[in-house]
Subunit: 191 residues, 4 copies
DNA sequence: CATGAATGAGACTTCATTCAT
DNA sequence: CATGAATGAAGTCTCATTCAT
């Protein structure tokens, strides 16, 4: 697909507007306008407004997941190194795709049977992936063993996402923020 | 006001439906129906659908904040004990008011100038409160000192909220989950 | 009826608000509020909002018509004197009851079968009354005879009302304005 | 735009219904129905019900004013001839656009900040135009000089409009009615 | 007499989607 | 491929009126 194809322009317009205004406060007309095409054209490329919205989210998450999976499989890394990579990839994603991240945060509001399953599956994939790394780490004596790996994976992923607060982290320096989170994660805050 | 006043029934119906379906997928007619009153009655008690939605959210957060503040002021507690209380109060809130929590998660989608300011203020109150406790803890040699207290407060609050995932924690035993989070928070996950 | 009975207060409130805002932009709640009574009370004294509106108009016009009729019957007056009185009584009415006058101007917008008949009858009474005076004047050689009396009556009444434009006439001095209209009416504007 | 475009049909339907029933007693649904289009179509062509209503009124008055102005500028006419033309143009307008005239009479009921200014400006234009003609006439010794020209202009315009009463003038013969009004205006009704 | 909570019909308006061109 | 006029279902909100207290 060319960089400036109408389809691509529509996707970019949709990301921009959905992120700024939310799903329900963005009209198909606005998206078409922003992309510089007619309203009807949207329906040549996408089945519906919902499919356009969810399609963006799903491909965003898939992209992130692919990267996460790839890193996890590099076997000459320690579990801690892998965890560090996971944190960094998330922050990179937050930084590079902050509009899509905003859409994801909002997406729970527009329930859609078909896509909800997909999202759940992707979330589970993420957790499973991290869970496996943690288990490796526990077996390799890198991580504490008295916490169930899945519970821990959930906590970690939640911490990364939940603590992402654009008004606090500016995310100008991803490396630095990665280090901070990793340090807390590993050693805790007790003096 | 009696427990079963129409106003109270409307609020309960609104909480239930807003949580299940989100703001935009819930109609005023549905709320009235669920409460067993006429559509117009909603407007006798509330100025608008928005005000009904935000009113619930604001009073929910205010209730939590009040409890948090009260606990923070009990001076014969160590900072760690206070942190433990904060985690537990949040988990209690997640458990008891899970529908309101869902509404809060969704609330970024329905921007409203008036209420957004209020929400921001409440969030800041929360962070400030925890921030103060952390500073106490740092001064009293309970917490590490090489992390800025506000940054840490943001991370902790984000972790608590972000890790709340109904499909993982069942929150049947709040005490247990509180201990888990507190332990990770304090000592980290490194073996 | 006492000066401050609730009924009277309601009527005064209605006149004030209907004149300022028009029929459709005035709510029964506002009227009750302005009168300092409960909304339900309006319906004890009046059958409906419409009846309240039209009742005021009809009694306003009836009051004017009665005065007009009385003057017309004073037989030792010339037709010109009677015409002068009619003009003056109208201007007095415009001045004293300007809110009711405004309501009358608006009243064509709220058609009501029952009251429309009444209004038509009152308008006809007015025209007939003046028409008779003109005929007297024509017979007594006071007025030109080559114009049909009813046509003339219509023109005169229309002129008085139509030329009443609060932003032009201040109606501070009714006598003066009466003289002006009468002079034009009698002698025309030709040099 | 064709004569039978949906926009034109909507305007005609609106004029018919607004004139018959008034602004507040006419629904957008009725207008769409009368025009044979869907309800939503009204909003494709017009911003709101108000804008549709006022748009019709404003363009009606503008059309009349343009004609009036054009006539006033024909310089080889006497002031009396110009006055005669003004009366005739008004009666023509009353005859041809009687529905719009009815809308104008009703228009004070639907106050609208934006349009009220416009209407006031148009009314002032009308008065100023006639006022200038009268002044010419006074200077040229055609009209009496002891009445202020603007006061007179207001009276004349008011008389024309006020005396327009469909149940008296049938306006079948505009020329004849013009003559009648002009004669009264010029020479008065005194024998 | 008086109240005001409650009703529900109905108004205006929005907007995703379609389809003839 | 692309357009944009047209649709109509659905949503929020108003308000005259009623009635139990």
């Amino acid at each position: 697909m060319e960089k400036n194809s109408k389809k691509e322009r529509l996707i970019q317009a949709a990301i921009k507007l959905f992120a700024k205004q939310g799903y329900h406060n963005t009209t198909v007309a606005e998206i078409a306008d922003e992309a510089g095409v007619a309203k009807g054209t949207v329906y040549w490329y996408f089945d519906s407004k919902e499919q356009l919205f969810w399609g963006i989210i799903v491909s965003g998450i898939e992209l992130l997941n692919e990267k996460l999976l790839r890193e996890a499989q590099i076997s000459n890394k320690t579990a801690i190194e892998k965890l560090e990579t996971i944190i960094r990839l998330h922050l990179d994603f937050f930084k590079e795709s902050k509009n899509i991240v905003k859409m994801i945060q909002d997406s729970s509001v527009t329930p859609d049977k078909h896509f909800n399953k997909k999202i759940h599956k992707l979330r589970k994939e993420s957790i499973d992936n991290l869970s496996k790394i943690i288990k490796e780490g526990q077996e390799g004596d890198e991580f504490v063993i008295n916490i169930e790996s899945e519970e821990l994976a959930n906590f970690i992923l939640g911490s990364i996402g939940g603590s992402y607060n654009p008004s606090v982290y500016k995310l100008e320096d991803v490396e630095e923020t990665t280090d901070l989170i990793l340090k807390i994660m590993l050693s805790g805050i007790k003096a």
